[in-house]
Symmetry: C2
Subunit: 237 residues, 2 copies
DNA sequence: ACAATAGTGTCTGTGAGACAGTATCCC
DNA sequence: GGGATACTGTCTCACAGACACTATTGT
């Protein structure tokens, strides 16, 4: 006897919370929902994402990478899965489940493309647990979860190295930490922490401003994976 | 114009990695795959789980709670989402996505039920990154991820409080930590860490053996959420 | 008294914070 | 020299580990 496969299956999507630092603020990339009739949440801002395409997506992560590249042109960013959300009500079109990824990219190379039939896209600064406007679906919750994740991890990992462009100075990296953490950190302690972890390596070059030039660093091999520090910054809230 | 919903949708399941301590070892609950014709991996052991039932499951978490209660009778265990896995190949029946949950339960109340038409179920001790036999689907990977998660969290959270029955002594709680960590911890440091965190509270009772009676504790309110300690146990491997 | 387990006091080590001090650029 | 930013030395503090010590039971 052949066991029956479920005829009714959830709508299945992948959404991505893509973060970057713009003008000294942590920002998330949002796209505008299409305004066609019967479209849910027409014109609302939402996390980029869409249905999994069983013909072309080999896996959920493939799907996330593809959508990320479409939106930002970035090929290999920091990407981790955040989790999944699924229930009967979150999409008015029916029972739906979304697999949510979190991506970090370094600044300038990305200009959201609104050309062609691509949806309008823009960077929004995040404050507290989200952005100013209302988002489509339950994306407010997804965004809050993504923010909680990176704000937790910044305390004990090297995660912000993926938010700075190479080469970078330690002061720039420290700024990235501070922007994500929302509070200043001690310079001497910060430098020891980062250098001891071996996640950055000197390029040997220096960048001069109108003061003493700062040593330039790049990601070390070890930066591919997050480094876990033996202690968090303190105090933890 | 109405945008088309995808006609092809992934098979969608929920799987749960349920851990408990049996005979001083960390164990995971596995169920035997049915042996019907056309069943994938007939007779293999697998994590308990199954298709999401769009009619009866209001959400993924509801589905996980239901399956957990069916297998163990435990109503409100520690439950957290581990993540989701989805690709074209992991289930021979087609493109499938599974939402994986991790549960911890305290010992004795649970006897896996093999009666009726419920599948055979049993506890398997885990070593290193999994169990001895081969598992169905990609459940070896899911189990390894679940183990990695709890082994990471035991280093800096109060997670093992969910593996001990109330009331418990601090020595019993320490044993639970040691079983999950796979190494001994210092008694004095352990007690300070736990007591300072406020995750346990004294019952005022004592349990006598053939030596000095030990103070009995229960979970404090704060134990509902995990407590995060300011430092990990050291050394981290 | 002795075995056994519960619980504590004290010292050391490590890494973060505070903060002032030195170093090196441009003007 | 002075302003600006980069970098470091030194002290303190908090908390984990080591380990020996005391405490309280049953036999």
């Amino acid at each position: 006897m052949t066991p029956p496969l479920p005829a009714k299956r959830p709508l299945t999507t992948v959404d991505i919370a893509i973060f970057s630092i713009r003008d000294g603020r942590l920002c998330v990339l949002l796209v505008k929902r299409p305004s066609g009739k019967d479209e849910p949440y027409p014109g609302r801002w939402a996390l980029p994402g869409g249905f999994v395409d069983l013909e072309n997506d080999k896996s959920l992560e493939d799907c996330a990478v593809r959508k990320l590249r479409e939106k930002t042109g970035v090929a290999s960013p920091y990407l981790e899965q955040l989790g999944s959300w699924g229930d009967a009500k979150r999409d008015p079109r029916g029972w739906s489940a979304t697999h949510v990824y979190l991506a970090l990219i370094a600044g300038p190379e990305v200009k959201p493309e609104a050309g062609g039939n691509a949806p309008e896209a823009d960077w929004f600064p995040v404050a507290d647990s989200g952005v100013a406007g209302r988002l489509a679906f339950d994306h407010k919750d997804l965004l809050a979860a993504a923010l909680a994740r990176i704000r937790a991890k910044v305390e004990y990992t090297s995660l912000p190295v993926h938010l700075v462009d190479e080469p970078f100075t330690l002061t720039e990296l420290q700024r990235a930490y501070e922007i994500v953490m929302g509070r200043p950190v001690n310079k001497a302690a910060f430098r020891k922490r980062i250098l001891d972890a071996g996640i950055v390596e000197s390029t040997g070059e220096f960048r001069g401003g109108q003061a003493r030039p700062a040593e330039l660093f790049r990601h070390a091999r070890a930066a591919e994976r997050l480094a876990y520090f033996p202690r968090t910054f303190s105090p933890r809230p």
